[in-house]
C-alpha cells in the first residue's frame, strides 16, 4: 500500500514550508524563540520526570510485586522541594517573559511610523507619504517599523507570526506594535481576534523589501497626496483653522510644534501630546481643554472617519510653524504645495515626492 500520495504531498509541502516553528523574520523572533525553547525544554523535563515517577512506581509497587501498601503520611521536605523548585522556575519565566514583553511593545525612537486601520473585514495600511494598501503592508528590512493601529468597529488583532508580534486593534484607542524585519519576503498577516462572519478572511501579506526596493515601491504607489496634505485639507474644510489659527487672539491653542510637548489642562494636569491625545482632543474636546482657553470646541465624533483623524493627526504632528495654516486662509486649494517645514522624523524621506 504505502503512504497515500495525497498525504505524501501534504507532508512534503508541510516540511518544505515550515516544520515545527515558523521562520524567524524579525529581530524579535530569536528572542521569542529562545524563551519558547527554554519553556519547551523545562516542560519536557517536568513531564518526563512525572511520567517516569508514575511508571516507576506503577511497576515497582504494583500489587503483584508489592501486595501490602506501606502507609506514609507525607513529607514536609518533599512538599517544600516541589513547592520551591517550580516556584523558582516560574519566577525565572516571569522575569524573562516580562523582559521580552517590553522588548516587543517598547518601540525604538527611530522607528518609522505606518498607520493601520482595521475594519470588518480588512486591514488598511496608510503610509505617511499617502500610499494606501488593503490587506497588504510593504516595509523595508533593517529598519524599525512602528504600526499605530486603530479599529473602526470591533476588536481585531494584528498578528504577523513570522515576526512573533501581535497586538489587539481596539476601537476608540490607538495601540502600537513595532518590529524590524530581517529577511526580504512575504509573510502572513492574520486577524487573530474573532471579529465576526469573515474573521478568517481578514488576512493579508506583509512584504519585506530591501530599502532600495521599498523606495521604488513607495514612488510607484504614490497617490500624490501625503497624509499630512490630506490632513491640511481636512483642517481647512472642517474649519479648524478658524480657531487654531496661531494668532495671538485665536480662540483655540496654537498647534505649531505642539506634538511631543506637554500641555497643561484646565484642571491643572499636565499631559503629553501624542497621537492618542490629539485624537481624543478632537473627538472629546471638553475633556481636554488647554488651560487659558474656553471649552467652546464642538465634538467631531461621528463627523470624521478614523482615516481622516489619522490625516489630521499626521498634519499636526508635522506642523512646526503656523505658515501652512495661514496659507489655508488665502488659498482654499492646498494640494499644490507640500508642508514646507519637514520635521526630523525619518519618515520624511518617503514623504517628499
Amino acid at each position: 500500500m504505502g503512504i497515500s500520495p495525497v498525504l505524501w504531498q501534504f507532508l512534503v509541502k508541510w516540511l518544505h514550508s515550515s516544520a515545527l516553528f515558523p521562520v524567524e523574520a524579525s529581530t524579535i523572533a530569536p528572542y521569542t524563540d529562545a524563551l519558547y525553547f527554554f519553556l519547551v525544554s523545562v516542560s519536557l523535563v517536568g513531564l518526563i520526570f512525572v511520567t517516569l515517577l508514575i511508571f516507576y512506581f506503577s511497576v515497582r509497587y504494583r500489587r503483584d510485586k508489592h501486595p501490602v501498601a506501606v502507609q506514609v503520611e507525607g513529607s514536609t521536605i518533599l512538599e517544600a522541594t516541589w513547592t520551591i523548585i517550580p516556584l523558582a522556575i516560574f519566577l525565572v519565566v516571569f522575569v524573562w517573559g516580562g523582559l521580552l514583553y517590553f522588548r516587543i511593545y517598547d518601540p525604538p525612537p527611530n522607528a518609522m511610523n505606518i498607520y493601520v486601520v482595521g475594519k470588518q473585514w480588512m486591514w488598511k495600511a496608510e503610509h505617511p507619504g499617502g500610499q494606501h494598501e488593503i490587506n497588504a503592508l510593504h516595509i523595508p528590512v533593517g529598519q524599525p517599523v512602528q504600526l499605530t493601529m486603530i479599529s473602526q468597529d470591533v476588536f481585531h488583532s494584528f498578528s504577523i507570526p513570522d515576526f512573533r508580534v501581535k497586538r489587539e486593534v481596539i476601537p476608540g484607542r490607538y495601540s502600537t506594535v513595532w518590529f524590524q524585519a530581517t529577511d526580504p519576503g512575504t509573510y502572513h498577516i492574520f486577524c487573530t481576534q474573532y471579529c465576526g462572519t469573515l474573521h478568517s478572511g481578514m488576512i493579508g501579506e506583509v512584504t519585506a523589501m530591501t530599502p532600495a526596493d521599498y523606495k521604488k515601491w513607495l514612488d510607484q504607489s504614490n497617490s500624490g497626496m501625503s497624509l499630512a496634505q490630506n490632513g491640511e485639507r481636512l483642517f481647512a474644510s472642517m474649519g479648524c483653522n478658524a480657531c487654531h489659527s496661531g494668532n495671538a487672539a485665536a480662540r483655540g491653542p496654537n498647534l505649531a510644534g505642539v506634538y511631543g510637548s506637554k500641555v497643561t489642562l484646565t484642571d491643572g494636569s499636565q499631559v503629553l501630546v501624542n497621537d492618542a491625545y490629539l485624537r481624543d482632543a478632537i473627538l472629546n474636546p471638553s475633556q481636554h481643554v488647554t488651560a487659558g482657553y474656553a471649552p467652546i470646541m464642538p465634538t467631531y465624533q461621528g463627523q470624521i472617519s478614523e482615516d481622516g483623524l489619522i490625516d489630521i493627526v499626521e498634519f499636526i504632528k508635522q506642523l512646526q510653524s503656523n505658515y501652512r495654516i495661514q496659507q489655508t486662509f488665502v488659498t482654499a486649494d492646498s494640494n499644490q504645495a507640500s508642508p514646507t517645514t519637514p520635521s526630523v522624523g525619518s519618515n520624511q524621506d518617503s514623504v517628499k515626492p
Binding site: L283, N284, P285, S286, Q287, P295, I296, M297, P298, T299, Q301
Partner: protein, 258 residues
C-alpha cells in the same frame, strides 16, 4: 444494609429536655437535618452566602459607576442634579423605616407576638411599596424629560439648562455637547442600578405578602422564626444597597458655584 461506622447515635443518651427537638416532629423540621437548630443555622448561613453573591452582583455595577464617574465627572455631576434630592432623601428615610419595621417583625416573631408580627410586616410592606411608588414617579419624570438613555434621549437640558425664573440664571452649569452625551452613561447606570434594586424590592414585597399570610395563620408564632429572620436579612441587604446608591447617584455635586 447498615453501616458499621454508625456505631452509636449521637443523641440517644440525651436529656429529656432536648428530646422534643429530636423526635417530636415539629412541622417545619426537615427530615435530613439532625436538629431544628442545625436547620436554622444552615438556613441563616445559606442566606448570608446568597447575600454574598448579591454583593458581587452589584459589584460589577458599582465598578462601572466608579470608572465612568471619574472619566465623565462633569456629565455625572450635571445629570445627578436633575434627580430630585427631595424624593431621593425621602425615599432613603422611607426605606430605613421599612427596614426598622422589618427588624421589629423579627423581634415580634422571636417573642411570639403574633399580632405585632403581622402588623410590623404589613408596615414593612407599606413602606416598601411607598418607596417603589416614589421610584416610579421619578422614573416617570425622567421619561417626560427625555432622560431615558436610548434613541429618544435629549441632551438640551445639559447644554442649555433651563433658566431659574427667580435668579435669571441657569439652574445648573451648562456643559459642552460632547460631555452632555455622556450623561447617557450616567442615566444608564442610574436605571441599571436603581432598576436592579427595585427588582429586588419587588421580589421582596412579593415574599412579604406570602409571609404576612403565613404569619396571620400563626406559622411563626410558635418559635419557628427562620423564614422571618432570613427574609429580614434579605430586606436589610436591599436597604444597604440603597444606602450606597443614594449618595452615589443623588449627591454627586449639590453645591454649584454660581
Amino acid at each position: 444494609m447498615d453501616n458499621t461506622v454508625a456505631t452509636e447515635h449521637p443523641h440517644t443518651h440525651e436529656t429529656a429536655v432536648h428530646v422534643e427537638h429530636e423526635h417530636i416532629a415539629l412541622p417545619q423540621h426537615r427530615h435530613h437535618f439532625e436538629t431544628v437548630e442545625q436547620q436554622r443555622e444552615a438556613g441563616s448561613f445559606g442566606m448570608w452566602l446568597f447575600l454574598l453573591t448579591e454583593i458581587m452582583f452589584f459589584g460589577g455595577l458599582f465598578f462601572a459607576y466608579l470608572l465612568y464617574r471619574n472619566w465623565y465627572y462633569a456629565a455625572f455631576a450635571s445629570a445627578s442634579e436633575t434627580l430630585s434630592i427631595q424624593i431621593g432623601t425621602a425615599n432613603t428615610a422611607i426605606l430605613i423605616t421599612s427596614g426598622f419595621f422589618m427588624a421589629l417583625a423579627v423581634w415580634a416573631a422571636e417573642v411570639r407576638k403574633k399580632k405585632m408580627l403581622v402588623w410590623t410586616l404589613i408596615l414593612t410592606t407599606v413602606f416598601g411599596v411607598a418607596f417603589l411608588g416614589f421610584k416610579y414617579d421619578e422614573y416617570h419624570a425622567k421619561w417626560v424629560e427625555h432622560h431615558i438613555p436610548g434613541a429618544h434621549f435629549d441632551i438640551k437640558d445639559f447644554v442649555n439648562p433651563p433658566i431659574n425664573p427667580q435668579t435669571h440664571k441657569p439652574i445648573e452649569d451648562p456643559i459642552s455637547p460632547d460631555m452632555a452625551q455622556r450623561t447617557q452613561i450616567f442615566f444608564f447606570l442610574y436605571f441599571a442600578m436603581t432598576g436592579m434594586h427595585a427588582l429586588h424590592m419587588i421580589i421582596g414585597v412579593g415574599l412579604l405578602f406570602w409571609l404576612i399570610r403565613r404569619a396571620a395563620r400563626g406559622d411563626f408564632s410558635a418559635g419557628y422564626v427562620a423564614p422571618i429572620e432570613n427574609f429580614g436579612l434579605y430586606w436589610h441587604f436591599v436597604d444597604i444597597i440603597w444606602l450606597f446608591l443614594y449618595p452615589l447617584l443623588y449627591l454627586i455635586n449639590r453645591h454649584p458655584m454660581h
